[in-house]
């Protein structure tokens, strides 16, 4: 019975946390708007939708996979939209197939690939 009483206490504690979360956003949880820096000359950018990523712990794997692709300078992930933003070095020859392989190796599924700027084109323009 003592164990059951302890379990009930744990249940109420969990329920209380959920209710508190739904009522108010604490001051320490206030988010800062994300700044989007301008693309440096010659660099490229691609946005990849990755399906199945649910937490920062899991973004680690997908970001590392993207950063393994030669020519990728930096990768970041937006959990809410399920999108990875990749900054590509000037002259990088990253293909859709490279991106698909990276996503599968990270154990996720790939969605649409949106090329914002091809690095090779940028490099030629500059």
């Amino acid at each position: 019975m003592r164990g059951f009483a302890n379990a009930k206490l744990g249940l109420w504690l969990g329920l209380g946390l959920m209710v508190a979360q739904s009522l108010a956003v604490p001051a320490w949880a206030a988010d800062q708007p994300s700044a989007r820096p301008a693309l440096p000359p010659g660099y490229g950018e691609v946005q990849v939708t990755v399906l199945g990523v649910t937490a920062p712990f899991f973004t680690f794997g997908i970001v590392k996979r993207f950063e393994q692709i030669p020519g990728v300078e930096h990768a970041s992930f937006n959990l809410k939209h399920g999108t990875a933003d990749l900054l590509l070095k000037p002259g990088a020859t990253v293909t859709d197939e490279d991106l698909r392989r990276a996503v599968r190796n990270a154990s996720y599924s790939i969605g649409p690939i949106h090329w914002i700027a091809h690095p090779s084109t940028k490099a030629a323009e500059n």
Binding site: A7, L13, G14, A55, P56, G61, K64, L79
Partner: protein, 306 residues
Amino acid sequence: MRLIFREFRAVPKLFACALGFLLALSLVAPARAQITFPSAAPISAGNVIVRTQPTVTEYSGGLQSFYDENVVLYGASPDLAFILENKSIVSNSGNIVSNGKAAAFTATGFGDTVLDTRYNLYEVDGIGSTFRIAPYIGIDIPTGMDNANAMVPRTLQPASGEWGTREALTSSWQTLFWNAQALIGYQNYAGSDGFQTGSSLLADAAFHYLIWPSDLDREVPAEVFASFETNYSLSAVDRMNGAAISGTGGQFWTVDPGILYSAPTWGAALTALLPVLQQYRGPGAARYDYGFEITFRYSFFTYHHW
């Protein structure tokens, strides 16, 4: 390890040893379901996750158990993962009072190792969600000390000394704000030196609810979850030379509320282990009162995978 008698100095050593052995025999550590069971959560190929879980559990009758379980997960391919679980140190100690006098014992040493292989069988991915089913099989390897203290019964030794197998089906449904995991499995042991741990049916479930941050529309550095896990096991009795050991086997069910901090490369969790149901077969079991588990997790990446 040594059997320590604190208050029996006036009693002849041989008699004291015999009495201590009998007292120790009357204490049987019950089987306990595993907390933080292997889930079907994604592991990237080449990703290595190292986890250490020191756990303290307290039993009525003066029995206390401490162990530190180390877990290494390795993504061998997008669908195949290896999980190595080793109890690097196990310490069972008791302090029994009889007729106003206390007899204490400790059994400390290396624990056993389990090697699991998990395969991602079914997967449905969406934006910010994934549902997966993954069966796994495991081998119990007797790497531990099953005779750390010769005066302590086998069920209180740091390790069982047996080979064994574990087969389970685990599933995981994860979203941005909560995730649920479940496992059903079967575990059995081959026996060693006349001793055989009873086979077990395992049923585990866990629910994690995001409590911070509220806005995920940015690069999120870390998250805090409220966690609630439940572990159930139905076990056959342990046997010594074919004879059932009283106070072993039966049903054991805990609920485990906790809090979890999770960042991309590291995490920590604090979990309480609270019993709901304890039904052992025969008298003599030390009843489980409560336990605490701290988990530290570190994740890194290798370029080696299939």
